[in-house]
Amino acid sequence: MKVVLQNLTKIFPPRNKKSGGGVVAVNNFNFEFPDGKLIGLLGPSGCGKSTALNLISGLLKPTEGNIFFGEKDVTNLPAENRGVGLVFQNYALYPHLTVKQNITFPLENFKGKDRLTREQMDKKAYEAAKLVQIENLMDRKPHELSGGQQQRVAIARALVKMPCVLLLDEPLSNLDARLRLQTREELKRIQQETGITTVFVTHDQEEAMSISDMIVVMKDGVINQTGKPQEVYDNPKNLFVAKFLGTPPISVFDGQVTGGKLIVNGDEILDVPGTEDRQVKVGIRPEGFVPCVTGKMKCTLSGIEVMGRDMSVISRNPACENPVIRAIVPADTRIDTSSAEIKFDIKPGKIFLFDHETGERIY
């Protein structure tokens, strides 16, 4: 089922009434979450992504705007009646119930004609447990499970009632690095097997990029950019999005456009025909640097780190905002480490120009 947010705004009242103001957590949010897709809601801490998720779940009431599930307006429907599945960051498994009781808990709430017999409940619980591969842990208590297993139970509990939308709040942030990689693949598989529209919140851009069909990048309660992960990466709308996506992060330089040429630290590094003369911020992806003896951009070489298939070349440039420039090049690239200077050519599609003040993309 698709989920449509229309002019959605959430303002938290100020703690002290006299001081006025209040916090705008979500600001005029307009977006359609397409049916049956895995969508990553991405942004730095405190950008309002969890608030947006809670608005969809119904745990919070919007200050303004509407929410539609399919064609149905659910804005005023309480959380109890929306039929969403929600997975919490700390899982919120009931500690006094077994895994099985936790999973059947939502089913026991069905009333009237939807009411299930014990056998039906057990069957559904078993199916959900099987989907997340915990069917052999049904009689354990949550505290007897590892973090990853608890996570799976939480997902099974959210899935067992076949929700119209599955919402996950930072689902992987409590897992260790290895488990996180594994679980995010699982998440993708579960989503594809069930076909349920799934929205997950994360501050980890790598996580969002790797499994989402679509990402929504948020900052300060406002959507900055939406689209397929690769599209957003290749075509950031502004400096924030460019900086937020990608590991290692994009290198940002202060630059100047003069007569259709981009000048960074005195070097003419790129032709930018048709761009008026102005101060700009220049963003270059790590893979956009190509070491080359005839390169136009001169930097001070600090060192190289070889990591298997890739090598990162670490250098410095006075115009660069980042402490060091990290360039990712194939491991077999030959680099003269005895020289203090390194020259780069810049790949055209990997360099972006942004307005010096607003950070909006201009090239």
Partner: protein
């Protein structure tokens, strides 16, 4: 090496000395007295050793009356006060405006002097030549007959004693339960809400199990406290509790030691040991029951 072994004992010494002198030694002493017939604390003499003291106490109608009173008090006040405290703290947890005011109001009895409380209950219940008391005025208003709650029938006096006990022990229970309720992770409620759980079911299936260790603690301490009741009865019915048929076990022990019929440390010791055995048994039963019901 020797020094190392000694050091921990040195640290423990103050506690061992004090607890030993004021708890362990008296406990053992009471146990010994209870088997010494006619022990006289002045001359430190006794007639013989045996179970006579127990036999006397268990056949003493005053003791049996005290035992009965104490049991009635325990059986009524512990469940009633715990249940009421639970209802009130659940209510307090769900109201927003004036919550602090309510919390203060419900906590007032805890900081109020027992005698002052006794005085208030006098005004409420006592029949004087001038007035029948506030409660009787209410009963009369609804067409009932006046009842003498302080010097009247047994059930009326028992009612006042239970009412008083419940009223006095409630604030502490409310305090404990309010903080227990506040410490339940909101996420559990949110999770239940999203899954369409009714309020009643959230309370019975999530809230109650989550705070069950605290409820259990209150029941145990409630039992022990109610078994030790004495001052409440004195505040309401005066010191001659045997005449008022309102004595408690602790009251009986006190009377045996210092009361008008006092000077019988052996009987008092036997009664104390019986009380100890009763409380121990009840606590053990509680522990066994709670094994299956309380979620730690």
């Amino acid at each position: 090496m020797e020094k190392n072994k000694l050091t921990p004992w040195l640290y423990l010494l103050p506690a061992i000395v004090f607890l030993g002198a004021f708890m362990v030694y008296p406990l053992i002493d009471v146990f010994i007295y209870s088997f010494e017939e006619g022990y006289n604390s002045a001359s430190q003499t006794y007639f013989g050793v045996g179970g006579y003291n127990y036999s006397y106490v268990l056949h003493d109608p005053y003791f049996l009356q005290a035992l009965k009173n104490t049991f009635i008090l325990v059986i009524i006040t512990v469940p009633v006060s715990t249940a009421l405290a639970l209802v009130i703290s659940a209510g307090l947890a769900s109201v927003k405006p004036l919550r602090d005011l309510y919390q203060t109001v419900y906590f007032l009895p805890y900081v109020t002097n027992t005698l002052a409380v006794g005085l208030v209950f006098m005004i409420l219940f006592k029949k004087t030549p001038y007035s029948d008391g506030l409660i009787n005025l209410l009963i009369n208003m609804f067409g009932g007959q006046s009842v003498d709650f302080i010097d009247g029938p047994y059930w009326a006096k028992m009612f006042v004693l239970c009412f008083y006990t419940v009223w006095v022990v409630m604030p502490f229970k409310i305090l404990i339960l309010t903080s227990a309720l506040a410490s339940v992770d909101r996420n559990y409620y949110n999770a239940a809400k999203v899954d369409g759980t009714s309020k009643m079911r959230i309370f019975t299936k999530i809230t109650l199990p989550m705070i069950s260790p605290m409820i259990f603690y209150l029941v145990i301490t409630g039992f022990i406290g109610a078994f030790k009741a004495y001052s409440d009865a004195v505040a309401l019915f005066g010191t001659d509790l045997n005449a008022a048929q309102m004595n408690t076990i602790v009251g009986y022990i006190y009377d045996m030691l210092y009361g008008d019929s006092g000077g019988y440390p052996s009987y008092a010791s036997a009664a104390a040991i019986i009380l100890f055995a009763v409380v121990l048994t009840i606590t053990c039963i509680n522990l066994i029951i709670s094994k299956n019901k309380v979620h730690h």
